[in-house]
Structure formats: structure tokens, C-alpha cells
Symmetry: D2
Amino acid sequence: MLQRLIGICQTLSRRGKSFSLCQMLKRGLRLGLGLSPVRHYTLDLRGIYPPITTPFNPLGQLQYQQLVDNVHRWSQLPFRGLVVQGSNGEYPFLTETERVEVVNRVRQVVPADKLVVAGSGCESTEATLEMTKKMAAVGADAVMVVTPSYYRGRLNSAAFVHHYSRVADGSPVPVVLYSVPGNTGLELPLDAILTLSQHPNIIGLKDSGGDITRMALIIYKTRKQEFQVLAGSAGFLLSAYSVGAVGAVCALANVLGEQLCSLEKLCLSGKWEEALELQYRLLEPNTMVTRTLGISGLKQALEWFGYHGGVPRSPLQPLTDTERTDLRAVFTNNGWL
Amino acid sequence: MLQRLIGICQTLSRRGKSFSLCQMLKRGLRLGLGLSPVRHYTLDLRGIYPPITTPFNPLGQLQYQQLVDNVHRWSQLPFRGLVVQGSNGEYPFLTETERVEVVNRVRQVVPADKLVVAGSGCESTEATLEMTKKMAAVGADAVMVVTPSYYRGRLNSAAFVHHYSRVADGSPVPVVLYSVPGNTGLELPLDAILTLSQHPNIIGLKDSGGDITRMALIIYKTRKQEFQVLAGSAGFLLSAYSVGAVGAVCALANVLGEQLCSLEKLCLSGKWEEALELQYRLLEPNTMVTRTLGISGLKQALEWFGYHGGVPRSPLQPLTDTERTDLRAVFTNNGWL
Amino acid sequence: MLQRLIGICQTLSRRGKSFSLCQMLKRGLRLGLGLSPVRHYTLDLRGIYPPITTPFNPLGQLQYQQLVDNVHRWSQLPFRGLVVQGSNGEYPFLTETERVEVVNRVRQVVPADKLVVAGSGCESTEATLEMTKKMAAVGADAVMVVTPSYYRGRLNSAAFVHHYSRVADGSPVPVVLYSVPGNTGLELPLDAILTLSQHPNIIGLKDSGGDITRMALIIYKTRKQEFQVLAGSAGFLLSAYSVGAVGAVCALANVLGEQLCSLEKLCLSGKWEEALELQYRLLEPNTMVTRTLGISGLKQALEWFGYHGGVPRSPLQPLTDTERTDLRAVFTNNGWL
Amino acid sequence: MLQRLIGICQTLSRRGKSFSLCQMLKRGLRLGLGLSPVRHYTLDLRGIYPPITTPFNPLGQLQYQQLVDNVHRWSQLPFRGLVVQGSNGEYPFLTETERVEVVNRVRQVVPADKLVVAGSGCESTEATLEMTKKMAAVGADAVMVVTPSYYRGRLNSAAFVHHYSRVADGSPVPVVLYSVPGNTGLELPLDAILTLSQHPNIIGLKDSGGDITRMALIIYKTRKQEFQVLAGSAGFLLSAYSVGAVGAVCALANVLGEQLCSLEKLCLSGKWEEALELQYRLLEPNTMVTRTLGISGLKQALEWFGYHGGVPRSPLQPLTDTERTDLRAVFTNNGWL
């Protein structure tokens, strides 16, 4: 019966209803049934997600219709869902209102069987919790919470445990931890992750750091909690699957979504050799739209693949001609254009 | 006559009027008088500034009356002005409304002959410009703009030059660059600083990095622009004066403001030996309230010195007992408590 | 016939004869037979290698008999060979004479069908070449050359290409590149590796950095050169195999050699699930004897597994009691002791 | 009487005699006279030192006659002494024999009233001690011991304290600590320095890190030990004097020795404004021959200033044409060529 109730909750949640009732229900049931030692996923995260970009016009104005158009196309791919306002969504450049409205618009378009995972992280704990609630209210199935980073000198494990526990306690939807040292300059410490993995409303981690040993260790040490680990980049997707990750959030999925879903399928069905051939050809394009050229590169590539790309907000700058040529060459040389 | 007009403008500005008229006037006069090759400071920044803290109660609510009380006390010290919402002001934890209101309240209390330099930096260029205008509108004499940092992989000199030029073009008040690698994990590149020093509305730099060779080089290479460099910490205040800095914004000035103004005076009057004796005794307390214990330490020290300190917003945590004891020992051992 | 000649050369080389004749012969044959476009391995590196430790007594004196005893035991395991004077061999603490003599002694003990790969890297190019020749003269089958690092500010790709080309030109045995940022603080740049992979006497890379995306990219971009990539740690061994690595040099193989050879076999036979279960249990012990406790930890573990461990030379210090207890717990908890 | 005996010892030592007798004498006297609480410098380090380069011909052969020629010229400048085999002496590229012989040759040429401070650091403690003894035996007045760095993961304060204590215990001449993060990638920790400053045979520190706050703190915290701190670069020489450093070891002194001695004099006589004008003009040339172009740049500059420069040993590469032009421009633009 518990399973069925959880199932109903998940269905409701995917339809954009508020989670709070469901969550309370689930928690109460667990407690009532003495289920606390056994952990059930409140949400199954397995699969591939594009961390979708946010389209702007050259004046920097948010183009909602273009966003909706893109989402329609992404919705036709076998993604598990979309990540809205990961780093590639330029969330630090959006106003509070825009952040919520983007989630709202995406949720309205995305089919009910696909997840909307919304990036609700802010520097302060309270702001993160507020944003979490607002995003949940417009239908986010889960939130992905990036580490605060500004006061890095004092952000030790204790501070992170406090921050995420407080957010997860108050969040109407499940919470996914998000560590992205390439942007924040810091890594969510291993011991903090292990502690937080025991929180009933923290269901997983997106790790973009690319340290595969660390990722394997996290998976191994949290297997009793059935904590779900997602790779944060297409560059190490195959390797992540090889050590037990359940999915990936990859910038490259914005443009090569089908291929990344194929790679997932090959990994899950044990066709590692084929998987590797595909993984190889994704390495360089992935590096280009992440480390080398970032969102500017990704948005340019989107244009080539028929999506609305546009330019990022300033201070990010559009590609130079040389950069555009290099980017094109990499996609061409690997057989994608 | 030009000097007098500039003087009037500055007086107006310190009284909380909009700068835009003054700025246009000054620029027009300069152009009309053929003064462009000669650069006059639009604002004389020389002196010591505390980057004031923002008081919260244990629930995290902003305590405006406590802020005002503190500002009254700081106003009695021979500071050149106050920096509102530097890193120690916990600006990343404030809402947009709070950020502006804090500047507003401070400006109402601070005497007209003291500057209010407001931290208006945001991740995006447009948000920074908007915040700049709002802070100017409530009476900030200048804005101090921290480097964006989230998309660090793409934040090269060209991006920074674009960002700061755009903000300075649109700002009704002069702009001070702000490089604080201890928090952002990146340093505003030297070549970007040199380029930006030529912008008529960029009047200086607060450098908290502590690389004294770099600071000396910036001062040397911008001396034709009469660009004003402020040290970003009390730890290297004497050294900064020794290489030509015009002042300092020091966390420690929140609690030992008088002593830091004395140190300034000793440096400016060439009493280097006395200055050094004083500098020595400030080193350890400074390290404690910056690198070691951060804002939590600074707020604890404020309590001991009779100010409203309180606790920082989460995820920053109050001091542990051990940390409090260590902090106390350092202030005591150096003769300050 | 070419293959047979190469075979003879390899046999000769393993018996401690000079390679130079063989190398000339092979090159000449290739040229004569117009074989330059097709690259054949001069040495097949596939397999697992322990980077063996060097035993010292408490006075820091090298214990050759203990070394020989250990090598006898390691020789009974299905290793491809031994790496002598990798980082775990404390090569920076050995005199020039000791470095050569250790290789000599090991070569005398190791069966002819197992490789002796000797670490011959020094800071200067000429010293590296001299050491390479001496180690080849006492029977090293190949040399593994760590990146110089002291003048890191000037060690760009051009410098590395020059360094390794010069060494490989003059070396009587094949050269393996060695990048170990955990010790040197720098990484051999990707472009330098790609250039060097085309050198006929550079046959592979040991990469201890653990960036699996980079490793995959190196393998992909050098597949035409049949360049052999070895993982530099047991922590990412499975992942390395998943992206096409041909083997591994793992500190942990000093103590858990059989298990690492089993892991290799499981990976090569496509039994990825079993492999993963084994990999998981190796993660923590591996971290302990590398990052956390280093050689001191490895030598302590050797004692527990019946080898001669001893203590490292100073400034490395023996384990504290707490460290020893922690180390023991990790081996015990993972079922190895 | 003690002072006189110490004076005799120092005179002897400067003439290249073994220190061991003197040291024993001094220690015995101190103990006998109950003087341990009062610390007297065993060697007065105050002044400017060039860390001299080692000339090679294009084949990489050490050119002793060129070295001697250079030393003759440097000896005519008001240096306190020469540092032989600092980082600029390419010590990691010299054989053990060359290292000792270079010190020997220099000592034979340098006048008795100038110090020869010899870089004796090796990775292992015992090798460092052996090298120290050999350099003392050929007349080094003191040794400067760079931090080991290869096993950085385990080189904590305890390891450094053990390393330096052991070397200082066994050294016949006083020991100067040497921290150079630009080359080693690590910094000798503050707490290790404070502990080591109490050792009777450790008389100072060369700090090349350029963190002036740290330097000031070291000077302040060791003032009871009269520990002597030398700046490790011309870039922050004035600032170092401003916080109490007693001298400097500057690469730039190889070519602009007279100017650096003038800068010292200006600082010591309190002529800070003149000093600053001179310091400014040294900043860019200093950066060029250290961070930007390193030893290759320094050796090129030596040629322009009439010394024997030559090229560094490989893997360091000679300047490219562009680099040479840039270097020349910097010396010209600052009025030195």
C-alpha cells in the first residue's frame, strides 16, 4: 500500500501539483509503519537530462517562446527529464522572478512522465529554501542545489551539512546535491555527502567534478541509502556508468541528446565496446561546449542543430570567429555535423 | 571654477542627491574646457574604510536599528567613509531590496563629509548596473563592484573589460573595481585593470589579494591616470602605503577603527617605525577576523568592542567555543582586549 | 620475419643486453620495408604492475636482501612486470648509484618473461638520458620518465616535447611518459602527449592524475599510434579499462597484487559487475596507501601482508599510532585483513 | 669575551675554514655561560645577494671560467654576499660533484668579507645533510635549504620540522630556510617556521612567496629569536624592508646589482620616496626575469649587461625571438638599457 501511495504522489508531482501533502503522507506512513531503516526512493532519477539553456535576444531579454520551442523538441527525446537552471541555464544571471517563471513555463510544456529538476541554489540557506518552495509550487519534481561558494574559507563540512539539511527539511520536493568545482571553485566534501545521503529528502548528487575515484567511493559508501549519483558531464558518462552512476546531466545533451541516450542504453545493456566508440566521439565536442567555450559555445552549437541558441547574458561574450571555426571543426571531425 | 563645481557636485552627492546631473556637468565641463587629457579625481578616496557588517538576529532577520547604532559609532572615527556591502556585509545573503535599503539607511546616518561606497556587484552585467543605479539613487557616493566569478572558465580580460566598462558607462557615480580572490577564487587580471583605469568613471581598485608586487605594479602603471588603489585588508596596510596605495578597506576597522586610522596617519607622516610597531600588533587579530574565522569571528569581536555583532546568516555558522577562545586570546595577547 | 626479429630483440633486452642494436635493427627494417605508417609496439605493456617500494632499515640504509625477498614474492603473481622507482620507490631519496643498483638487483631476480620498467626521470634532460642508459644497461626493459617540475613556470608543452624527444632519441629502450600531478604539482599537457605519442621510441603513458575524461581523450586521439595508456592508481582501474587503458601501475598492487590482477581479468573478460564489486572494496585501501598516508602507509601495509615494509627515508615519517589504527581499520572493513 | 670568540669564528668562517670547531666552541660557551635564552646571530645576513646563475655552453657544459669572471664582477658591488645554487643557479640540473665544485670555485674568488650562502637542499634529509657538509667543507658560510616537495601530500609541519632540525643539528654552518612556492608548489608552513626559528643553528628564512602579510607575521613572531628574514625577490624588496626584513636574495641582482644595493640603502636610511621611485622601475624587469621568462630571461639579460649569460640546461629552453624583444623592451622602457 505504501508503494502505491508513493506512486500516486509521484504521479501527482509530475503533473505539477504541490508535493507537500505527498511528502507528509510518505513520511507519516514511513514512521507509522516503522519503515525508517528501509529507504525507498521518493523519486527515481535514472536517466539522461539536458541542463537546458535559457535563450536571450541580443539585448539580453529572456525569450520564453524560444524556450518553449526548445523544450518541445527536447521532450521528444528519451530523456528522463530536464534540468532547469543548472549552470548552463545561466541561473546566476536571472532575476528571482525569471528563475521561477522559467521553471513554470518548462513544466507546462514538458510531458507529465518526464521530470523537471530545478536548480534552486542561492548563497544563503534561507534564500535557497524560499526559491526551492517557489520552484516546487510551479511544479518542479525535485530541486538540484548547488553548493554556496562565496565564503569558501568558512564553508566546511559542518556548514554544508547544516545548509543542505535545513533546505531538505523544508523542501516540499526531494533535493539533489550539486557539486560543480569548475564554476564554484570548491567541491562538496566527501564526508558531508555521506552524512547528507542519510537525510530522507536528499535523494542524490550531481557531481560535475570528474574525479571518477571519488564518484565510485560515494556510490559504494551510500549503497545502503540507495543514494542516486548522476554524472555532471558527458565526458565521463561511460566511466560513471561503469562505477554505478544511475544517469547524467550533460550540457552536450542540449545538442546531442539522442546520442547520449543511446550511450546510456549501450552502457545499461552491457554493450561496452559500442558504448566506448560512441563515448570517444563525444569527448571533444563535450570539452568544447563545457571547459573550452562554455555556454557561448553551447548556444552556438544549438543554432547549428536547429534549436534556439542565441547569446549568453553579459559578462559572458559571444564566440569570436576563431572560436566558432574551432567549434565547428570539432563537431564536424567527430561526425556530428 | 571647475574645481568649485566639482566640489558642489560632491557635496550634493554626499547629501544623497542623484549624481547624474553632476556627472554630466563634470564631463561636459571637462570636454568644454579641453580637459580630457588631464584627469581629475571625481572623488577623492584617500583614507580608511570599514567594510561594515550587517546585523541579523538569530532568526536571520536584518536589524536596521542595530545597523544604525553601529554606524553612529563608526561615524565618530576619522574614517574617510564606510564601505557598505563589501564581502563583510554579507551582500550575497541579502535580497535585492535589503541591499538597497541598507545603503539607504546608512547614508541617512553617515555625516555628509564621509563617503558611502556601496558594493553593487552581481554576477550579470545588467543586474550590476541596475543595482548600481539604485544604490546611487539612495545616496551612495561611489560603487565598489566585485568581479563576477561563477563562469570563471570564460571570464577572461576581455569579458571583465566589457563588464566594467558597461557598468561604468551607465553608472551615475564613480566605480571602484574590487578583486577579492579569497572569496571569488579569481583575480581581476592586471591587463584588464590597466585598460579599465583609463575609463573616466572608474576611479580606483580595492585589491584584497595581498600580492604586494602586483599592487605596486598597478600603482606604477596607472600613475598617469591617477587611479586610486585601496588595500583590501589590514594585514598589508603599511606595505600598501609603502608602495603608494591611498587607503584601505579593512574588516578589522569594524572593531579597531581608531587604531587603523592611527596607522594611516603614521604612514602618511613618515613615522614608519612607529607604524610598524602598530602594524605588527594588528596582524594576528586581522588574520583571525578574515581568513581564519571570517565574518563569524568579526561579529563576535564586534560584541566585545561594544558594537552590535550578532551572527551571520546561514550557511555561515557562529563560532564554536574553541574558536571563540582562540579569537579572544589573539585580541588579548596583542593588547587590544 | 619482422615480428620474429622484434621478438628476438625483446628477448635479448629482457636478458639485460643493450637495446641499441635492436632498436636500430627495428627502425632500419621498418624503413626498409616501408613500414613507417604502420606502428608496431616495440614492447607490449598490457597488464598490472606494482610500483615497488624500496626497503630501508630505521637508519635509512637500503636493504637489498629485503628487496630481493619482496621481488621473489611479487614475481609469483600474474603481473606483467614491476615498475622500479616509480614514486613509491622513493627514487628522489636514492643516490644515483642506488637508483641503478636497485634496478640491477631487481632485474636479476625477476623472471625473464616479466618486464622491468625503471623510473629514470631527473630534472635535467641530460641527467635523465644518462640514467636511462644506465638503467637499460643493467636490464631495464623500458624506462618510465616522470615530468621534470621544478622550473614549472617555464615547463610548457614545447619544453616537454623537447625533453622527452631528446631522451627517447637517445634511449636504448622504449620510453613511457609519466604524469603524476599529486607529486609534481603539474600535469603533462595533452597536446605534448599527442605530439610525443608519434615518436617511435615513446610507447605509452602512465597517468596518475585520475581525470578519466582526459585519459579517454588521450586514448582516442592516439589510437592510430597504438600508444599504450596505463592507469596510475588502483582507484580508477576499472574506469580506465572501461575507456581503453591497457593496464595499470598501482601502489596497492604491492600488497593486493592478486586482487588487482583479478580485477584486470574481470575487466578484460567483460565481467563488469563482478569487477565493480571488487573495485569498490579496493577504493578505500587504495586512498589510504596513496593520498592519505602515502608511502608510510603502504610500507606499514606491506608488513601486515608478509612483505618487508620498513619505514621511508626522511623527511617522510613513519605512521603515528592513530594513522596505523585507521589504516588497519580500512583494510579490515573491506575484508582484506 | 663571548662576542670576541664569535667574532673570531665568523672571521674564520668567511675565510673558508671549517665551521665545526667554531660552532662547537660557541655552543659550549653558550651552555657554559648559561646563555641559551639570549640568542646571538651566528652570522649577520643583512644585505643584498644575487642568487648567481651557472653558465653553460650550448652543449650544456658548465663553464667554470665564465663563472669565475662573473663572480669577479659581482664581488665589486656592495653585496653582502652571493647565494650559490639558489633556484637561479639551476641546482636541480647539476650533478652532486658540480654542486660542490661550483661553491668551491666561487668561494675561492669571493673576497673574505663577503658571504657565500650555498643552496644544499635535496629531497631527502640525509642527502641534504651530506651536501651541507660538503659545501661547508669547501667554504660556504651558511647553507640555504629549499623545502623538499615531491611527496607534498605527506610533507606537513611535523615532517618539515624533523627535516630541518636534523640538517641544522648536523650542519657545521648556520642554516637558512628557503620557501619558494613558485618552484616547489608548496609553502613552508608558518607554524613550522616559528618552531624552527628557535633552533640555535637556524638563523633565518628566504621567503620567495611574496605574501607580505605572512612575512610581517614571521618577523613579528620571531623577533625574540632575532631570526633574519630575507625577501626572495626584488619585486617586494621595499615592502619587505618596510615590515622588517633584513635583506634580499634577488634574481634581478645578477644584472642590476648596484641598483638593488641603492634601493637597500634608501630603505635603510628612511628615504622611502626615492626608494619607491627606484622600486617602481625595477618591478617589470624583475617580473620578466622571474615569473615570465625565468632563468632563460635572466641569462639573456646578463649578456646585455656584460656578464656571461649563456643558455640554461634543458628542459629549459632559450628565449624565442619574441620573448627576447619583449624582455629588451621592458629593460629599455624602464631606463636600464
